[in-house]
Amino acid sequence: MSLALAAWSRSGIARRLLITLGLLAAFRVGAGIPAPGVDAGALRACLEAVQGGGAVGVANLLSGGALLQLAVFALGVMPYITASIAVQMLGSTVGPVARLRQAGPEGQARLSQYTRFAAAALSGVQAAALAATVTYRPGTLYPGCGPVVTDPGVPTLAVLALTLVAGSLLCVFLGELITAHGVGNGLSLLILASVVAALPGQVHQMASQVPTAGWGLAGLGLLLLVAAVVFVEQAAYRVPVVYATHTPPTGAAGAPVYLPLRLNQAGIVPAIIASAVLSLPVALAGEAGEGLLGQAASWLVDTTGPVYLVAYAVVVAGFCFFQLASAYDPDRVADQLRHAGAFIPGLTPGDPTSDFLDRVTTRLTAAGAVYLVWVALLPALLLSATVGVGKVPLGGTTVLICVAVALATTDQLTSGVARPRFPTLKETR
């Protein structure tokens, strides 16, 4: 025990952990303080009447309830995540952006800068839309509610919108600080903190829908789902790699080193994006009335209906392959192996290695897409079949986010403790 504590304090993990907790606390403070111009008392009364379904529900969940509370951090990091995906998409289709991606650290730094600009523009649009809605049509977000801002008008709208943009950019800054000086991926941790903050409300809503006799079954199902996600997230195709010319980066000289290709190559982003994309038609249905869009939206409202299931599977699979195409370049990996004097036994370096990696990752991604669809939809389908609950607020996507981010963060924590920390030059003097 004392050895573990000594290793803990030596590794510097304690300091990084404290920084992470401090920044997470700052994030939750921003998610709890109402933006200027908001009538906090009126808003509190309105929030009790909100169910939080559809696009607003998804966005509210990913902001930890800050969106409907009109907090300073109401938009959270989602504009930045959306901008990152857009830049990634451009990187695989538009020549100049693709060249920047391949231009090494300098190009990557330029791309990061463009992503921040795009995030600022996107959060500007979202903030303006949200501010206009709560200023002039609060009933759209809070059914049956009157004004939720103290002085409806252009000055209030402008201040509110600017605050939300600044809040969103500050969230990204906090996330980047956590990544640089704390533990784990900062942006993922902020999303996890938001999801966790919304959990009590979701559990309460679920408990009110599921009969008391089904609570044990639901709890057991949730535990099994968490274990299943851990099982698949830890699975990997370990491609053997041999270093022919020098000592490999890990392991003894000549010993086999493995290139791990995760089964879920795309991560959790496709499931989050699919939930958001499919909730858009539902949000637009209110504006569309009884037309074709309204009819399509009514099919998508039923999350256990065949139309929703097929649409969800198609969107998740599409984003899985898009994510693979934009984030994993088998040619580059094959080149890196060749430059490091390494090869995959049975394959010659260059094109055969690249083709092999391409085929394996494509097939693993297909299996990963099936896994993501099942995990995201299984809770709703099972509860619908067993206890007759059609709409499950505590969806599989929430479980996916929680488990995947927790796994990555605890991995970094344990590897940080295990890694010996050498004294700095200053300490040795």
């Binding site: 008392g41 966790v196 699975a235 195709y237 041999v242 270093y243 049975g346 394996v360 299996a367 605890t410």
Partner: protein
């Protein structure tokens, strides 16, 4: 220089056939290294513990902020 061990695992022939078919995906899944039941149970425990601690911290922060906001806004 290190020569290749003749008993080294090899991937030769591992990814032949059509790029995407049910049989090809199943073949690839057969080569995946799956974690043991014990490892999954241990990691599940760690994940749930981590989420429990994080939930407690986040909800604690939220309660403090909520009390402070109510005190200020009335």
């Amino acid at each position: 220089m290190t020569s290749v061990d003749p008993v080294e695992p090899t991937v030769a022939g591992a990814s032949e056939g059509p790029v995407l078919s049910v049989a090809a995906v199943r073949g690839e899944l057969a080569r995946v290294t799956w974690p043991s039941v014990g490892a999954v149970a241990r990691r599940t425990g760690i994940v749930l513990g981590f989420l429990g601690v994080l939930s407690g911290f986040v909800l604690g922060c939220d309660v403090i902020v909520e009390v402070a906001v109510r005190a200020v806004t009335g």
